[in-house]
């Protein structure tokens, strides 16, 4: 069982770092459930 399997995930991405859709994409191969995903601008 993977680290994220069965977990509910909240994703806060960074526009100048790793945006949320990219993180979400990485989690597709797991059994994690993304409950919230948003990119934020910190500047």
């Amino acid at each position: 069982m993977g680290r994220f399997d069965g977990k509910k995930i909240i994703i806060i991405g960074d526009r100048d770092g790793i945006p949320a859709p990219a993180i979400e994409e990485c989690l597709k191969s797991t059994e994690a459930e993304v409950v919230f995903s948003s990119t934020e601008c910190f500047v």
Binding site: D16, P19, E25, S38, T39, C41, V43
Partner: protein
């Protein structure tokens, strides 16, 4: 068709300590949710004086008095360093104090919505009369001021927004409609700030580069506010209002929006309009945002440092017909983050940086300087947002390593050589790509460098219409000296003529 050139630029800052407290959204939000907070009580103790703002190394860089290279000699933090004998006026522009700027807001007001008291009007008129760029015609718009009783009545009974200076009410901005939120006092205040600071940038552009305002044919305004009414919320048009205020009588214009990426979009649009021959002189201009004042103030106060987001920013750039001297804008080397690009950092950097380079058969190291998100790290690092320009340079360099254009061990050198420290205030569109245009143009004209890439990124997702963000880029390059006129016919035209002759020859062969 000949590429257009960057003929000049103007950069301005406006020190607005009272607007941090009364207009910055971090503070206005705090006043709603936690009105008795220690932050709001302590904030005034952490505001800088005008002299401190003028001598601050990053601000002196913004107006062109010291170069990015000189700034990089100062170790962070910069807020405890100062440039000795710093001047409010610089090679590219100026740092205006708040009282003069409030006067400029009154001057910018075409609908008698700004009321300033008589005493303040007298003092600010005296100061603005000494300002080299504010003409008598503009000063006349200050009129004689209003009675404080009328101002108080507008604030207390008619929903006007107070204007503070030195923590005292000196005037107000009235609402322009009784129920339309797009014309309420708060929005009109914000929009007059955009117009006035944009106009100040335009005046500096015209003055510092000896440009006749009557030669300007088109203006593109590219800030992040919207002016309009309830039937057309973002109808516009800041551009034409700024052109009107600054004597550009032969210009029209329009507003381009794209969050922080808008200035680079506007630069590409201006380059296209000039290169295609539609207009000879196009200005891109933007004013500043009161909403972002003190945006990271809580972190700054928590770290016992001054609230550094205490200035509005503005800039203006003139794009003109090729003069054989100024740097050209390579519209054939434009990068863009498309809908289908994807959001991984690698995909983003590929679309903005290497895709245009590939079109020109250039390597990552062929660009001498990358002007990316030039946010001042003195502001962002204590707030936990890191050093934004450096992160961008590392990503560009990493892609260079991946493309075998750079040795892995050279990565840090790449960041130093092709990058710069950030010096622009965190005013959204203001730090995005454009802060280096002035220095870059000068360095190219002085033959110190050959190529600069201007990169703008924008957080479209904040508007809640898409999850996407955006970005565009364009290369500014040394002028070969050849203009369309001196060239006679273009390479494309020659190719076309040869192809036609070949076709005709072939048809004769077939015919026989």
């Amino acid at each position: 068709m000949s590429f257009s050139v960057v003929k000049g630029s103007g950069y301005v800052l406006v020190h607005t300590p009272d607007m941090i407290i009364h207009s910055g959204t971090t503070q206005t939000s705090e006043r709603i949710v936690n009105p008795e907070s220690d932050y709001l009580k302590n904030l005034p103790k952490f505001l800088r004086s005008y002299d401190e703002v003028v001598s601050y190394p990053a601000n002196q860089t913004y107006i062109g008095n010291i170069t990015p290279d000189e700034l990089s000699q100062y170790d962070l933090p910069w807020y405890d360093k100062k440039i000795e004998n710093a001047d409010r006026f610089g090679k590219f522009g100026e740092i205006m104090p708040q009282d003069e700027f409030i006067g400029l807001m009154k001057i910018a007001d075409a609908f008698d919505l700004v009321k300033l008291n008589k005493e303040f009007t007298v003092s600010v008129k005296e100061k603005l009369q000494k300002h080299p760029l504010i003409s008598d015609d503009l000063i006349a718009k200050l009129k004689d001021g209003d009675e404080m009783s009328d101002i108080n009545k507008s604030i207390n009974e008619l929903h006007a927004e107070p204007i503070y200076n030195d923590n005292k009410i000196v005037g107000c901005v009235k609402r322009a409609h009784e129920i339309d939120i797009n014309l309420n006092a708060h929005t009109i205040f914000e929009n007059l700030v955009v117009k006035a600071s944009g106009a100040l940038a335009m005046l500096n552009l015209l003055d510092k580069n000896s440009i006749n305002p009557q030669d300007i044919e088109y203006v593109i305004e590219c800030s992040e506010e919207a002016c309009g009414d309830m039937n057309q919320r973002g109808g516009g048009n800041f551009a034409k209002s700024i052109a009107e205020m600054t004597g550009c009588v032969n210009a029209t214009g329009s507003d381009t929006r794209g969050f922080c990426a808008a200035p680079t979009h506007a630069l590409i649009e201006a380059a296209a309009l000039v290169q295609s021959g539609v207009f000879e002189n196009v200005v891109i201009v933007a004013g500043g945002a009161t909403a972002k004042l003190g945006m990271n103030g809580k972190d700054h106060v928590k770290k016992d440092m001054p609230v550094l987001e205490d200035v509005l920013g503005g800039f203006a750039v003139l794009v003109s017909k090729n003069d054989g001297k100024n740097p050209i804008l390579r519209t054939d080397l434009v990068g863009r983050h498309t809908v289908g690009t994807g959001s991984s950092p690698q995909a983003v950097i590929t679309s903005l940086i290497t895709a245009p380079l590939d079109k020109g058969e250039l390597k990552i190291t062929d660009i001498d300087k990358y002007s990316v998100e030039m946010q001042n790290p003195d502001v962002t690092k204590p707030a936990g947002a890191g050093d934004v320009p450096t992160s961008n340079y590392k990503m560009i360099g990493a892609l260079g390593v991946k493309r075998n254009e750079l040795e892995r061990k050279e990565l840090n050198n790449f960041v130093t050589k092709h990058g710069m420290p950030g010096w622009a205030p965190t005013q959204g569109h203001i730090p995005s790509g454009v802060p280096y245009i002035g220095f870059g143009r000068e360095a190219i004209v002085n033959e110190e460098i050959n190529r600069v890439m201007i990169v703008g990124k924008g957080s479209l997702f904040l508007g809640r219409m898409t999850n996407l963000f955006d970005g565009v880029s364009i290369v500014m390059e040394k002028n070969s000296g050849k203009t369309e006129d001196s060239k006679g016919v273009s390479e494309e035209e020659v190719k076309g003529l040869v192809a036609e002759a070949m076709r005709e020859f072939a048809s004769h062969l077939l015919g026989n």
